[in-house]
């Protein structure tokens, strides 16, 4: 049977289509202003890539901060649950998951079957998120990839007050004025975020194996800083940004999701109730 997992995050949409546990196609694209539209468009693209029609898909499960916006999904699961399912499939020895995306850093402790045992998330501030990295790379006038490479060359640690993305920017600028080598600044940025992320991870407890996923996991500069910070090895699967979508696809293959769909619905009602 063929299943699809769709992860609609704050910045990007990731879609994975699987057949009997193997990946047929995966696509990625910006979420943009209209998330539902973006998901729709990318889903078509994924189907084309896999040479399939909508009818061929047995079940579609969505996840991510805006997973509930995917009208054509048969079910929605919480993003941390998708993370857990995706990771345990790829790395069965995983017990701690660190997922740093554009606007959220979270840590999940999982059991041997991938059940979520504990969960923590960074406070509502951009420090400790992918957006912080992007902002700093722009202040440094290099691409995120270059910044990663640069920071690997640094042997010096400069404490940085990662209070706020905007102030971080000016901190970087003043470091530039002080003629601090770019690679040291790059490392300072990664160390700062790694500090924020690791303290979130420590709340759930760092248990081997530690697996990092999400867009920022591709940033080797960051993962090095994180390893240094937690003094443990950090395992990064291929295409870490697709793991959540893969988890959703896995859930589609395994789970009967009705109650979770309802759960989401109730949650939405409640939020409205809260607004009114």
């Amino acid at each position: 049977m063929i299943f699809a997992g769709i992860d609609v995050g704050g910045k990007n949409v990731h879609i994975v289509i699987t057949k009997d546990g193997t990946i047929l196609a995966k696509v990625e694209g910006p979420t943009g202003i209209n998330k539902a539209e973006a998901a729709e468009k990318l889903y078509e693209e994924a189907l084309k890539k896999a040479g399939l029609k909508r009818g061929d898909i047995s079940r579609v499960v969505a996840t991510g901060s805006s997973g509930s916006r995917v009208a054509f999904a048969d079910g929605v699961i919480p993003d941390a649950a998708a993370d857990a399912r995706g990771v345990i499939k790829l790395i069965p020895s995983a017990r701690t998951i660190i997922d740093v995306g554009a606007e959220e850093g979270r840590a999940i402790k999982i059991g041997p079957e991938g059940r979520v045992l504990d969960f923590a998330i960074n406070e509502r501030c951009a420090a400790g998120t992918g957006t912080f990295v992007d902002t700093m790379s722009r202040a440094l006038e290099v691409s995120v990839e270059e910044m990663a490479k640069l920071s690997l060359q640094s042997t010096r640690s400069i404490p940085m007050n990662a209070q706020c993305a905007v102030f971080g920017e000016s901190e970087v600028v003043s470091l530039i004025h002080q003629k601090t080598p770019k690679h040291d600044i790059a490392r300072a940025v990664h160390d700062a975020i790694a500090g924020r992320v690791s303290s979130v991870a420590r709340i759930v407890g760092l248990e081997k194996d530690v697996v990092m996923i999400g867009g920022v996991a591709k940033n080797t500069g960051f993962t090095e800083s994180l390893k240094r910070d937690i003094g443990m090895d950090v395992n990064v699967p291929d295409d870490p940004e697709f793991v959540s979508a893969l988890g959703a696809a896995t859930a589609a293959a395994t789970g009967v999701l009705e109650e979770k769909v309802e759960a989401k619905v109730v949650e939405k009602e409640m939020i409205e109730e809260g607004k009114s």
Binding site: N34, R124, C125, T131, T135, C164, V166, I176, H177
Partner: protein, 310 residues
């Protein structure tokens, strides 16, 4: 937060101006104030304490360059050279990196002094809404600071935040103010204080089909509210004047006045003949004016020596 390829909606028009009625050569002392802020830089040239020329540009990634850029821009239509300057004071975020300056003074002192010059001696509270921070200042009839407060370690409700917002909503930053009033009724303000999360919230609203103008209103209202909190902590005393870039954004200013129940001083020159001549009035040059006036005072009181080379 701004990709180069995109249209730069945050980019506000730069400006420069030279006073045609002043012949600097007839003057005694030429003083300059250079305000290198985190977002914008201004140079103000004064002749014996009278406004001779100014410029307002965007700050680059390097303060000394930005300082040269705005000084040269201010002098581009004048035969006055930097060597003719008697004394120069740097202020603002990059104040210690102003190559042509003999001294540095904080923008808090300079904005209070500048507001006193722009708006007159009755000003007791000055709000400088700058690029990265927001300063609430109390001052006396000479523009001398008596008390001040600055926003905390977070950039919520600053000019930079407004730029990010403009870019996000794809509306030129100078249009946001007026458009924020083209609405049915005031929407609830943006709740998130973090610039980055406000961004998420705005995207959410756009997606729910909330009209752009309403979102602009919601954002301006949030900013006005943050600033009100700061002014309440300081303790308002009239008259009240606003300097800095956001002063140009009526969407924020009008809502701020409403929440405070106090009207800000009109943006017109206090000095009658400057007003009558209809000289351009720019709230962003208050810091530069203050610095140039302090430079003039330092020379007058013999606290400093003229650095004029030619």
């Amino acid at each position: 937060m701004v990709e180069a390829k995109k249209v730069e909606y945050w980019r506000w028009p730069e400006a420069s101006w030279v006073n045609p009625d002043i012949d600097w050569q007839k003057g005694k002392l030429v003083t300059v104030g250079v305000d290198v802020g985190s977002v914008s830089s201004q140079a103000v040239i004064m002749v014996d304490g009278q406004l001779y020329a100014y410029s307002n540009t965007r700050t680059g990634s390097d303060s000394p360059d930005s300082a040269w850029k705005c000084v040269n821009m201010a002098l581009k239509d004048s035969n006055l050279k930097v060597d003719n300057v008697d004394y120069c004071i740097g202020t603002g975020y990059g104040r210690v990196n102003v190559p042509m300056a003999q001294q540095a003074i904080t923008e808090i002192a300079c904005h209070a002094r500048g507001a006193n010059f722009l708006y007159g001696p009755e000003i007791r509270t000055v709000l400088d809404m700058g690029g990265q921070d927001c300063k609430a200042i109390r001052c006396d009839e000479r523009g001398k600071v008596t008390k001040f407060m600055m926003n905390d370690k977070c950039a919520a409700g600053t000019g930079r935040g407004m730029e990010v917002f403009a870019d996000l909503i794809r509306v030129p930053v100078w249009e946001i103010g007026s458009r924020s009033f083209q609405i049915e009724k005031e929407p609830p303000m943006i709740s998130s204080t973090c610039v980055v999360f406000a961004k998420t919230e705005v995207v959410g609203l756009l997606q729910e089909g909330v009209p752009e103008n309403d979102i602009m209103a919601a954002y301006c209202a949030a900013m006005a509210h943050r600033i009100t909190e700061l002014l309440n902590r300081l303790g308002m005393e009239e008259k009240f004047a606003i300097t800095g870039g956001i002063a140009k954004n009526e969407g924020v200013v009008k809502r701020l006045e409403k929440e405070l129940g106090v009207k800000a001083a009109d943006k017109v020159w206090y000095d009658p003949n400057m007003r009558d001549k209809g000289l351009p009035f720019d709230t962003q040059i208050a810091g530069g004016i203050g610095a140039a006036l302090f430079a003039f005072a330092m020379l007058e009181r013999g606290k400093a020596q003229s650095a004029r080379k030619a």
